[in-house]
Amino acid sequence: MRIERLLLVLAMVASLAFAVAACGDDDEEGNGGGAAAGEDASSEELSGEIRIDGSSTVFPFAEAAAELFNEEYPDVRMTVGQSGTGGGFEKFCAGETDISDASRPIDEEEEVPICEENGIEFDQVSVANDGIAVVTNKELAIECMTTDQLKALWEPNSNVKSYSDIDPSFPDTPVSLFGPGTDSGTFDFFTEVINGEGGASREDYEASEDDNQLVTGVSGTEGALGYFGFSYYEQNADKLGLVQVDGGDGCVTPSTEAIQDGSYTPLGRPIFMYPSASGLEKPEVQAFMEFVVTQNQAIAEAAQIVPLTDEQATESKSTVDALAGGS
């Protein structure tokens, strides 16, 4: 009998110890309510629930938006999910979510009919921009690649075994490729834009579900080259080499500005939120979409995502305003 009592006590002591041990060194401010809340008194009225789900690329943006929105309207319950663009649309068209995050437009052939079948009407609103970074192992010295060179490297049945096969000025190192799994929107986008068709790619590369693992792979393998979302590069810039991409107008280094103003082509794309008509009937959802567009810069900065260009912002704003009118 003594042993399990001992275990129980140990467990409780352990939890208490953990609680006490590392506490105190982070600032108390900022969580749950934070600094000065919304200035208008009327902002306290909104309540209800908003369900958002979809792309994991858009997720940081949606999460930041939810958090900042909650600072003004603390009574609105926000649930943000990460089921993937496809999974998100599936739930969206079943009426289970109010807003769907997407890293690509809704598929006309497959997904729109499902929504129509279930009587779900929706609108497309651009909310941010995303870019794909081409990265290398730190030791591999490749400064810039044209889209043709990228194509030669990544196209189906590519015979490139060493980087010098693409261009004699590149190092004569055997290629070791890393990329997102085939179910990923990043894969679809990259292959479409570089190889001409979504899904067309050479097959002998290391694929992973998690872009963080690709970072581990590329930084730890000699002669490695890979591609993934730009924010993953930004967070790990000290471990990786970055390749400039020449989309026809010279070598461009990916950066927030370059992606935003479109000079980093073709590896930049807008990402979306799709509010449903039934969702928009709720005032909190309407307010949220307006918030997303008007506070776009702040949200994107907090999420470390590339914000909308002024042009995109104007367009999105008018879409959202139109939504407010009709219903």
């Binding site: 129980l8 590392a22 999460e63 649930t79 999420a303």
Partner: protein
Amino acid sequence: MTGAQIAAAARRQTTVIPRRRRGEAASAWGFAGLMYGAVGLAFLGLAAIIWDFAGDGASVLSWDFVTSFPSRVIPENAGIESAVVGTIYLMLICAALVVPIGVMTAVYLEEYADGTRWYNRVIEVNIQNLAGVPSVVYGILGLAFIVRGPLSMGPVLLAGGITLALLVLPVVVIVAREAIRAVPPSIREASLALGATQWQTIWKQVLPGSVAGIATGVILALSRAIGETAPLLVVGAGVSLRFNPDGLDSSFTALPIQIFAWTQDPNQEFVARAAGAICVLMIILLLMNSVAIWLRNRYEQKW
């Protein structure tokens, strides 16, 4: 040494023991070495894993960590309160469902079912098969029939709890069956001979005698359930909730989901916090298990 050999030796009036001991000692030592080596290796491996995440996690743990909601704006303030509450609720629902149904199924199969009847064979094969179905498939089941379909609950806490219960039910049944089977037939026969009915025998003799084994089954089941991510995601659990789930019909999230999302986040700050969340998960598991272990040690039977 078989009985026949001993009998033969007795007949020959020779002692067999010395000859046996020579070869015996060597193999006994060999086996002991193998055994201790195995246990040592197992523990080394598991200790290394714990060390790996405990180190990263400890630096992140604090009371604030457990009582804040996830944050994107200030990663240092990101906490796991909604996830912890969700996980605890899910475990309670899961246990409440899986213990009665699992034990009842095990009792039926061991005590009542005629093993030669086809429908009982079907049930047996079913249980065993279900133990090997990947958890994602249970998520698909939950989505199709509990969240939508006939029950149409929506992606709520109860739906998640039921899905998890169905997932770990086979574990409880299989282990509980073994526990019930281990009760010697003599106990049952004595009870029946004294005039008890079948149910009285089970309720008063067999079940109390198998509590320890059943507790093991429940521990293993809940241990499995607490770490499950994929089925909950398919069923519609959120990833980032800024409120605590407050009822069976509320949206929810769970610790493993939060962990999974954080490890995949580009921001390394979140990856570090994932380790902390894992530590908290382990502590909850430890507390849960302590209760079950206490039960087991208290009611353990040596036949």
